[in-house]
């Protein structure tokens, strides 16, 4: 007992740190996002977070049980930002497309955080709201419940999966990024047409396409296939 972490809603005392900062779970999450955006994913350490907050590093443990716990909170915050201000239009396909792009964009805005947190199920408030919204769109569109659940699952995991992958590219330090490009030039762009005819034939298209996220296209394919099923409720 005398648990180290007191849940945020029932916090009463707020005692400023030596440097005069009044801490809160929200401030810590925001500071963590800022830190990670400025200095990369590897900057997210308890010690540096403490320094950025103006507090002793161990103060963080009064708000989160562990760094993992903090990560979950960050993930939920991003999900919340993705939904901020969203309103359904009534067109299920457009609505799902918008939600998917919003989730993706929210994570792309904090690639390092996405890399750390997008693959976690948070079970927190913002995540639950998102689930409710997506399921509602599908059921109102006329998908029978089992189909709605299956499409929901594919849709959500697709957006999160792409978020992680695309974040990984953005999160790489500039040095590694240019190194990656040189690897590409060295290995792919000059492959022998006799051993790798298909890469050789499409090399120019590949280099152009590589620089964009494939998510919008993949999302459109998923939605098109889902719509095609609305008519045929078989199989």
């Amino acid at each position: 007992m005398t648990e180290r972490v007191v849940p945020e809603p029932e916090r009463k005392r707020r005692r400023p740190t030596k440097q005069g900062v009044v801490l809160s779970a929200e401030l810590i999450v925001d500071t963590a996002l800022r830190l990670v955006g400025l200095h990369g994913a590897e900057a997210l350490t308890v010690r540096r977070l403490g320094a950025a907050l103006g507090a002793d590093p161990s103060a963080v443990y009064r708000y989160f049980h562990s760094t993992d716990d903090l990560l979950i909170a960050i993930a939920d915050e991003l999900i919340g930002r993705a939904q901020h201000g969203w309103r359904p239009t009534g067109d299920w396909r457009a609505d799902l497309r918008a939600i998917g792009l919003r989730i993706h964009a929210a994570y792309q805005a904090h690639p390092q955080a996405a890399l750390l947190a997008a693959h976690r199920t948070t079970g927190r408030a913002n995540e639950i709201t998102a689930v409710e919204n997506i399921l509602g769109i599908l059921r109102n569109a006329g998908f029978p419940d089992p189909e709605a659940v299956r499409i929901y699952h594919a849709f959500v995991d697709q957006s999160l999966g792409f978020a992680v992958l695309d974040a990984a590219a953005l999160a790489l330090p500039a040095a590694a990024l240019s190194a990656d490009y040189q690897v590409w030039q060295a290995s792919y762009a000059r492959l022998d047409a006799t051993t790798h005819p298909h890469i050789a034939a499409t090399a120019h298209l590949l280099t152009a396409d590589m620089n964009r996220s494939a998510y919008p296209h993949a999302l459109d394919l998923l939605l098109a296939a889902a719509e095609a099923r609305l008519g045929r409720p078989d199989d």
Copy 2:
């Protein structure tokens, strides 16, 4: 000069460690995969790897520039394993489905490694072979080059994205996993039907679906949509 790492193909001297083990890049990658499979992703440290190999930890740096470099090698090894023994059947849709499932399965077999490495572009031999195969299937199926490249990109990134996400679930320690399930029970399964009608109506379906990967379904949707486009080369 006197570079710390000598590339594997031109290695001549093989000097056993104190414990009598003869090292090689391959042995290190295999040992890393075994380590990570046995004791989780957090067990992949240079020190523990050294111990598992029967060598001083710093010997690893004679074969890889950094842990990141090692990770890339592990990723490429998994891609290679996914393709091992694969042969095209001539049915493009079945072939792509098989490759997708193989990639996914290869990473699921080593979830901790997948989590660390699936979002990296390796540029190494096995990755290049996979790219060539997939592009070949699409171009032979009759997709025009720009379309083939776009579908290739969506297909590959979707497979890797799902691999990361599904690996994350498998990689969680047993304790965290059951904790997750309890969170689910506590928050989702008993949500008020008036505030969250859609979750409440489908809760039983959600819990059943949650335990499977959505990848096969998402893959089928992608392939169905791609096939639908083969006829209409417009837009």
